[in-house]
Symmetry: C2
Subunit: 314 residues, 2 copies
Amino acid sequence: MKWFTEDAIMNTYHMTHAIKDVKNTLVSLGNEEIKTDERTVIETGSSNTMLYMPCVDLKEGYSLIKIISIFPENPQAELPTSQAVSIISELKTGRHLAALSSSYLTRLRTGAITGIATDYLAREDAEVLGVIGTGAMAFEQLLGVLEVRNIKKILLYNRTAQKATQFAARLRERGVKADIEVLEDVDSVTKQSDIINCATKSETAVFNHQAVRDGTHINGLGSYLPSMREITIDTIATADLIVLDDIEGARHEAGEFIEAESRAVFDWKTAIALYELIAGSIKRERAESITIFKSVGASYYDLAVGIGAFKQMS
Amino acid sequence: MKWFTEDAIMNTYHMTHAIKDVKNTLVSLGNEEIKTDERTVIETGSSNTMLYMPCVDLKEGYSLIKIISIFPENPQAELPTSQAVSIISELKTGRHLAALSSSYLTRLRTGAITGIATDYLAREDAEVLGVIGTGAMAFEQLLGVLEVRNIKKILLYNRTAQKATQFAARLRERGVKADIEVLEDVDSVTKQSDIINCATKSETAVFNHQAVRDGTHINGLGSYLPSMREITIDTIATADLIVLDDIEGARHEAGEFIEAESRAVFDWKTAIALYELIAGSIKRERAESITIFKSVGASYYDLAVGIGAFKQMS
């Protein structure tokens, strides 16, 4: 069995690759060539959990399980909240081929999913990207958007402004050419943005609906527990098109959508799954439509990038 | 993350260690310090399956998941039917510490379980061991018995006698001192044995009940599907003490016990779990009692040897 470190993967496998591989996996998902089972969650005390997410790709001929520890108190000991590893096996022989450190891959796949959804949903001429929350997942989420739209201005907002400034420096280091501004007022971010990325752990909505312009596309990936909120309920009620990366997952996890449904301003039946969106017949119909993409993650996204990275490095 | 090969583990971690570690884990199981969840099974076509068996040891502070491919047609391509790998994570930090190739460990833990059960159930003076079926699991199953009883004679029976002869050579190579005989009549094995080991893939009982002597202890680990049979229903009906390595698992998998229950000669409620046996109050009461131990496997046994081997090699 081969072992691939974070560094080896980061040096080889990038957003462009991830977007291509996730798209291919979504096509396979639509063709029923992907088999998953419910993820297993074992609580290990002090609100720590171990998650096990297995998935099989009958077309590519591999299985992948991602093992992820989610330890909310870890930052106090200067350790990351979540740490992941994936194991790839070969369906032809049953051999276990590789273990991949998967923290970067997890962030990358989330960015790739966001990029794909943004490509289908945001206006073609979108050029101002607002970022609300500059924490762990925000960087790759932003790179996903940059991959699919010609972004000229990036507006950053974070509760602790200093972290937004560090984030801006990191973007410049990475060679991002767009203008970057850190704003201390979330409304001025919202009002100027064509695309808004949210990646927070908030329990209340992180922007005001009144400030959202017509034609805005919103990406949310922060509220991954029923108790969390990120997008306002009014925006959900107003949106012309709502796309979810995994409808079953969102029903259990996406806090603001669970609330919107209980308030009868949203219906899971009208939500579109990302694999349906890329199948092609559904699209943004009016320039002034508000569109939303919400990501909670699913095992087949981890499979897509894990196998993609493995094939590229082998 | 560290990677441990089959060879590294085989050179370091042996039956004595495995028996000690499995016993400790069984004590923890009794103390509710072990958390498991149902294993996940994904079928990948042509009767191939991927199995995922996660388990958490709160006392030792580790989690382990065993990933095992079971590909029944593999021997036709000169590949093993089952191939396993385990991933160990640390509950204090959430870090993923090691990947262990686990085919040997799977056989070893099965042998250790058999050894422990035999130690508690077989007569102290047992000295003739009959082995019915000399396939993949039989070698370590036998080593488990040798660890706990002073065996003077080993009688081997296999449908293809030539394989039994090869098995005898392998035992001698390993330095086993007991007399070893290959017999072509299963009844003469049964009639002479104090302990009988069965490890077959049979769909009908592999010995005749009439040939079983009073005082015999029987170990079964072959019939792991409801369609399989190894121990005769009459022997189950006659046994004074029946111990199962995992009662829930046996209810779903142990073919002859499922049949015995449906024929009302056996009741799951009277079966003893191995962790209860080693807690101490239950034991063989009469020299002439027939006792049975049936193993189907469970994730905490894999955890016991995986963590044991990891600690020893670290």
